[in-house]
């Protein structure tokens, strides 16, 4: 199978992993392989995982590696075609009809069309990456509508005809798995489940993302975050929270706070649920002492 032109210069998962690293994203072997296959086979990439494991970041990094603009379509319950595809500029159309008088006017011309993310991607497939974020939030009707888009990469606008992509665009979908996606959607994609990274990898991510953080701090934060993730919290800290926590604690430490205390005082950037804080507070000191050891 021929490798698609959109990844010229990247000829293996390892090469992609390296390129992603240069874009400040540390991908493990599984993610690099899935992303490489998605790009090479021209299939959408479906990333699932707990909130905060870096699914959206992965899409951003892929766009950076390819040197393309990232178009993000944030899904929500009730999202429909007019928010995802296109919309007509009705006031302008109305005005045009009024002004035209006896002359005929094409109110379905280009000037009246408002492009939404999916149409924008189809029209410029070689300069964009489409991120369909949190597809599990959209309802099933929208998912069904996406199927057509993802298999043929075309959409039809009744007034203007069919718009087809000149080449297969790069599409990344993410899901937090709050509901099961339809099998038909999973089938059309290359799939990867992103897990929380290993402690080693996460410490490297923290140091890469927050350059002011010392290695010891990064390791302590990662150890503490790992322990927190094992607790039955309603919102476990993700990677972004780990980075923020390391940065916040470093800031407090530079301001004169002692170490475990700096961690404890900045816990609010890692745990953002009052109930979780309440639950963990009796054991927090012991947990932090253990993590810093």
């Amino acid at each position: 199978m021929a490798v698609r032109s959109n990844i010229v210069g990247i000829d293996s998962p390892e090469a992609l992993e390296k390129a992603l690293r240069a874009a400040y994203y540390l991908a493990d072997e599984g993610l690099a392989t899935a992303a490489y296959l998605g790009l090479a086979l021209g299939k959408p990439l479906l990333l699932e995982g707990a909130p905060g494991v870096g699914k959206t970041e992965a899409a951003k990094a892929i766009a950076a590696v390819l040197g393309r603009r990232l178009i993000r379509l944030q899904c929500y319950e009730g999202i429909d075609a007019s928010a995802a595809l296109y919309e007509w500029n009705y006031p302008r159309q109305m005005l045009a009809i009024r002004q035209a008088g006896d002359e005929s006017v094409d109110i379905y011309g280009e000037t009246f069309l408002i492009e939404r993310p999916m149409l924008a991607t189809l029209r410029a497939p070689d300069s964009t990456v489409l991120l369909i974020d949190e597809i599990d939030r959209a309802d099933q009707e929208f998912e069904a509508f996406l199927l057509e888009f993802l298999s043929d990469f075309q959409i039809s606008i009744p007034e203007r005809g069919t718009v087809r992509a000149s080449e297969r665009p790069v599409v990344v979908l993410t899901s937090n798995r709050t509901r099961d996606l339809h099998e038909a959607l999973r089938r059309r994609c290359v799939y990867h489940w992103i897990d929380y990274p290993s402690a080693e990898r996460e410490a490297r991510i923290v140091m890469m993302r927050a350059s002011s953080v010392a290695e010891g701090t990064a390791r302590a934060v990662v150890a503490a975050v790992e322990k927190l993730r094992r607790e039955p919290l309603s919102k476990a800290p993700g990677i972004a929270e780990a980075v923020d926590w390391a940065e916040a604690a470093t800031l407090l430490h530079k301001g004169g706070a002692r170490w475990p205390d700096a961690f404890r005082r900045s816990i609010g950037v890692a745990l953002k649920d009052e109930e979780d804080l309440h639950f963990i507070s009796p054991r927090l000191d012991a947990l932090l002492a253990e993590a810093s050891a």
């Binding site: 199978m1 490798v3 293996s12 998962p13 072997e29 599984g30 392989t33 899935a34 296959l37 998605g38 090479a40 086979l41 299939k43 479906l46 699932e48 707990a50 929500y76 319950e77 009730g78 999202i79 429909d80 007509w88 009705y90 006031p91 159309q93 109305m94 009809i97 009024r98 035209a100 109110i107 309802d139 937090n176 798995r177 709050t178 509901r179 099998e183 999973r186 089938r187 059309r188 994609c189 290359v190 799939y191 990867h192 489940w193 039955p232 309603s234 109930e275």
Partner: protein
């Protein structure tokens, strides 16, 4: 995209792996097989690990069955003899509370390939129950008849045409106005569409509920059939998701499948732990968000009332409305007596009679009349 039959002999081993996956209950579409072969061709393949990665990316096993998938992979490509039987497909829906309570490190979503049967080596008495031939009671018939109209609804974000409504339908108005040379004769209106609200049904199947269990399961089946988004779990000493078996249309068949999935019939009750386990799995906990939560239980708790209170408090913050239906509340002068019921009373919206199918159905059908969010 088609499988290039360049290496038919070499490709056979990969295709037979797909076959093995299918026999073990993994849904793999033909186009996924094609992608799998294309991926292997693309990657080299230089090592077995590459093949595994290619399989994971293209065949997309659900994360909770990943361990089974890996075992099958090893079995097929490495020839591990240790494995004789792999999974039974329903295990991934079962949360083992027993292990949880002992502080074992086993993941909540268990994957028990090496166990010869679901109920093997359990200390507690596990009884598989079969439901006898069932006759539809009037209450259930009423439920299926009136459910579409009377079950709780919420306002969705999508808009629909309406004679009157808060939004202008510009698209339609414009189309109409073209016919009258740009003159707007009538402004089209839109209103937000009403959507059925999610429902979450948690049924106590412990010993103290024994006399009600069969009726409750019939009720659950009717509700799943009548309403579009219902999730059903049973709990006693464990928590089991039985939505999937209940989706079977024929009742006897559905209840038999559900009975097979549940392994803690008529056992003890650890309601608090069961609910905590439910909330600890994000996918399950998500079912409660904005939902009408209905708990059918007598609330005779063997475990800590604190665990129960915390779990119900958490549920009530997530849910649209929490109803606790207990057979103990049959009389009009009912006051909660047990420690557990007293503990949760202030967190539930309704604490009402759940002693007969008629009263349960009446309550559920009345839910939609309460308030529209």
């Amino acid at each position: 995209m088609s499988a290039e039959p360049e290496l038919p002999r070499a490709a056979r081993v990969f295709i037979s792996f797909v076959g093995l996956l299918r026999t073990n209950g993994f849904a793999v579409a033909p186009e996924q097989t094609t992608s799998f072969l294309a991926a292997i061709q693309l990657l080299g393949p230089r090592s077995l690990e590459d093949i595994r990665q290619a399989a994971l990316a293209t065949l997309a096993p659900p994360p909770e069955r990943r361990a089974t998938f890996d075992r099958l992979f090893d079995l097929h490509f490495r020839g591990n003899e240790a494995i004789e039987r792999v999974d039974d497909g329903e295990d991934d829906e079962t949360v083992r509370l027993q292990e949880e309570a002992r502080g074992n490190d086993e993941p909540l979503l268990s994957d028990e390939a090496n166990e010869s049967g679901l109920a093997a080596a359990r200390a507690e008495t596990l009884v598989e129950r079969r439901f006898a031939q069932l006759s539809t009671t009037d209450a259930l018939r009423r439920l299926s008849r009136e459910a579409p109209r009377r079950l709780p609804k919420r306002r969705g974000h999508r808009r629909m045409r309406a004679r009157s409504g808060p939004y202008a339908d510009l698209r339609r108005t414009l189309r109409d106005s073209v016919r009258s040379d740009g003159e707007i004769l009538r402004l089209g209106r839109l209103k937000r569409r009403q959507r059925p609200r999610k429902m979450l049904l948690l049924i106590d199947v412990s010993g103290s509920m024994k006399t009600r269990t069969e009726e409750n399961m019939k009720f659950a089946h009717t509700l799943v059939q009548a309403a579009p988004s219902v999730e059903v779990f049973t709990f006693g000493t464990r928590l089991t998701r039985i939505t999937r078996p209940l989706r079977l249309k024929r009742r006897e068949q559905a209840l038999r499948a559900a009975a097979h999935a549940v392994s803690d019939w008529d056992g003890g009750t650890l309601i608090g732990d069961a609910l905590q386990a439910f909330l600890a799995v994000p996918r399950f906990g998500g079912y409660a968000r904005g939902a009408a939560v209905i708990i059918v239980s007598d609330g005779l708790e063997r475990g800590e009332p604190d665990a129960l209170r915390d779990a119900v408090a958490k549920l009530s913050r997530r849910a649209w409305r929490v109803s606790w239906l207990t057979p103990l509340a049959a009389g009009p002068d009912f006051r909660p007596q047990t420690e557990a019921l007293v503990a949760i009373e202030r967190f539930v919206d309704d604490l009402v009679d759940g002693g007969s199918s008629a009263s349960i159905v009446a309550h559920v059908l009345a839910l939609g009349q309460r308030r529209v969010a």
